[in-house]
């Protein structure tokens, strides 16, 4: 087991170095002199240019710059935003809970709908239910989620007035930032209606962000369930006279879930990139909106740092999924 984990961990190091190399090159590929880009239209004097150059390490050879960059990154130093002058890491940490909250709710939505839908479709294979689940999931999979967001907003916020259009909570509430998670903070604040306001702000973005993962989970659950249901031990269980629901839920589902769990783990990447679009439409103050705004403002350290952090999160999650898979399934653990 330790050998397996060690082997997987050793594969992460080159990937991490590759990503730092990518983000390191990113800022150097921008046409023009980086300092002049940072200074903007005002321009800089020659002395100031030299000073800044030394301060930012641009006067050193490239490999030293890269070495300094990587050691900085490992210590959590991603440089400062050009606009706010705040450390990128600090900005990231204040915005990240909003994205986690959204992604978490989206994942819950995707699992709550996708998993039963997939099971149902597999059990009722070939029926209308099966076909409609598969049609819906293929449609969900093909959905341009930014448009889906607008459509839902049009129907539920504009026409029906059931949910708010954007943001995390009504402006009338002033919630202290304790954990950064609005659902928890609004509960802690004890203000009447704050929690339900936070929930209603979350519903549409979660549905939008959860749509593609839901479709993927439903498809995967269906095919995995179909495979398991055709195995001999299921026939044995049925022949023994075990209640049909028990065969499906207790006997089949447990084994069918193994690949599904992997797929759920792999949705983190989809959730984080989907968050960029969802947050932009719903004005959700998370890292996706932050990244897009930073690109618009040409705030390169933020773009560089943000991409690096998101990529690292995905590497770590994929690693955890792999390791969990190895724990659950010994065949993976022992194969090379």
């Amino acid at each position: 087991m330790f050998q397996f984990i060690f082997r997987r961990l050793s594969l992460v190091i080159p990937t991490f170095l590759g990503i730092t190399l990518l983000t390191f090159t990113l800022i150097r590929l921008i046409p023009g002199d980086p300092i002049e880009v940072m200074a903007g239209e005002r321009g800089v004097s020659a002395e100031r240019h030299a000073e800044l150059s030394a301060q930012l390490g641009f006067d050193q050879p490239l490999y030293m710059q890269y070495y300094n960059y990587v050691t900085g990154v490992l210590q959590g130093d991603l440089g400062n935003s050009l606009i706010t002058r705040e450390p990128v890491m600090k900005e990231f940490l204040t915005l990240f809970p909003a994205t986690i909250e959204l992604a978490f709710c989206a994942a819950i939505f995707a699992i709550l709908i996708g998993l039963p839908a997939g099971i149902f479709a597999a059990v009722k294979r070939g029926t209308v239910i099966d076909h409609s689940v598969m049609t819906f999931s293929l449609t969900g999979y093909s959905m341009p989620i930014f448009w889906w967001a607008l459509l839902l907003m049009l129907v539920f916020s504009v026409n029906l007035g059931w949910t708010p259009v954007s943001g995390r909570i009504d402006v009338v509430y002033w919630i202290d930032d304790v954990t950064g998670f609005m659902l928890i903070d609004s509960l802690l604040s004890g203000e009447e209606g704050a929690f339900s306001s936070a929930v209603s702000h979350l519903i549409l973005p979660s549905i939008v962000l959860g749509t593609i993962p839901m479709a993927v989970i439903a498809r995967m659950t269906r095919s995995s369930m179909l495979e398991v249901l055709s195995e001999d031990y299921i026939r044995t269980a049925r022949a023994k006279g075990i209640a049909p629901w028990r065969v499906i839920v207790i006997h089949a589902l447990r084994n069918a879930l193994i690949p599904v769990i992997t797929v759920i783990g792999l949705q983190v990447g989809i959730l984080l990139s989907g968050a960029i679009l969802t947050e932009t439409v719903f004005a959700w103050p998370g890292i996706g909106k932050w990244l897009i705004e930073s690109i618009g403002r040409r705030d390169y350290p933020v773009v560089q740092g943000g991409i690096l952090i998101v990529a690292c999160i995905i590497i770590v999650v994929n690693l955890l999924v792999d390791i969990t898979y190895g724990i659950v399934n010994p065949r993976i653990r022992h194969s090379r």
Partner: protein, 304 residues
Amino acid sequence: MTTSTKTSTTDIPLTAPVPMTPLQEFWHYFSSNKGAVAGLVVIAIICFMAVFANFVAPHSPSDQYRDALLLPPAWLDGGNWSFVLGTDDVGRDILSRLIYGSRLSIAVGLVAVTASLIMGILLGLIAGYFKGMIDTAIMRIVDIMLAMPSLLLAIAIVAILGPSIVNAALAISIVSLPHYVRLTRAATMAEMSRDYVTSSRVIGASPLRLMFICILPNCLAPLIVQATLGFSSAILDMAALGFLGLGAQPPTPEWGSMLADALQFVQRAWWVVTFPGLMILITVLAFNLMGDGLRDALDPKLKQ
């Protein structure tokens, strides 16, 4: 009576069934999948619209009819049959813009898929054929690219190069590269151990001949499937980049940027928002349906 029936049975010519040509066989499997055929039909229509946009579209995509701003679709009150799907905030015909937009989406999809297919096949063949250090190096880079969500990577690339259609297409082709490399490499490795490759090698075929003439044609099935599915993600990513303002720039009739322009009119004019998105959904869905059908028809092994 008995004799006559006997003769009649022997009279029936007992010819062996004519074996289907590979193409017929493919069509047999493909056409049994209704969704795939529907996808193919929709794609054919969209391609027709794209190619003959000048003739099909009722108006120019950039003509502004100042007396017909935000006109609703024809079947609603206040609609006008000369603007079937209504007009946008500066009086441009939405239907015409959608038709011209299909030209852009198909073109971008074609360019992005072709570019990444060619690069992916080259890298995959090299990695699978030579193995060793080259293989490790190529696959590490591919792993790094796969660690990033494609949209994020595309955004990063466009952020460096600057927003434009060409850069967005380039970004999309780079982003989808890893899948082609992996597929080609895996297929190449599987083919390499086959007898026909060994015998060609013994006869003295050069590595280039082995790679492109012997191995490549046998790896094509999964690549064709991936290319079709790649088309749908290219169109989706292109629209997403356009929507974020990182792809096609405003006056261009691109589906994603049309949506972004329409954002401020969500409350007043639903049609400005609805139709471009519907167009994206239908196109992407058609490519996904056809891709699934192709996968089932071309490669039963991949069938789930």
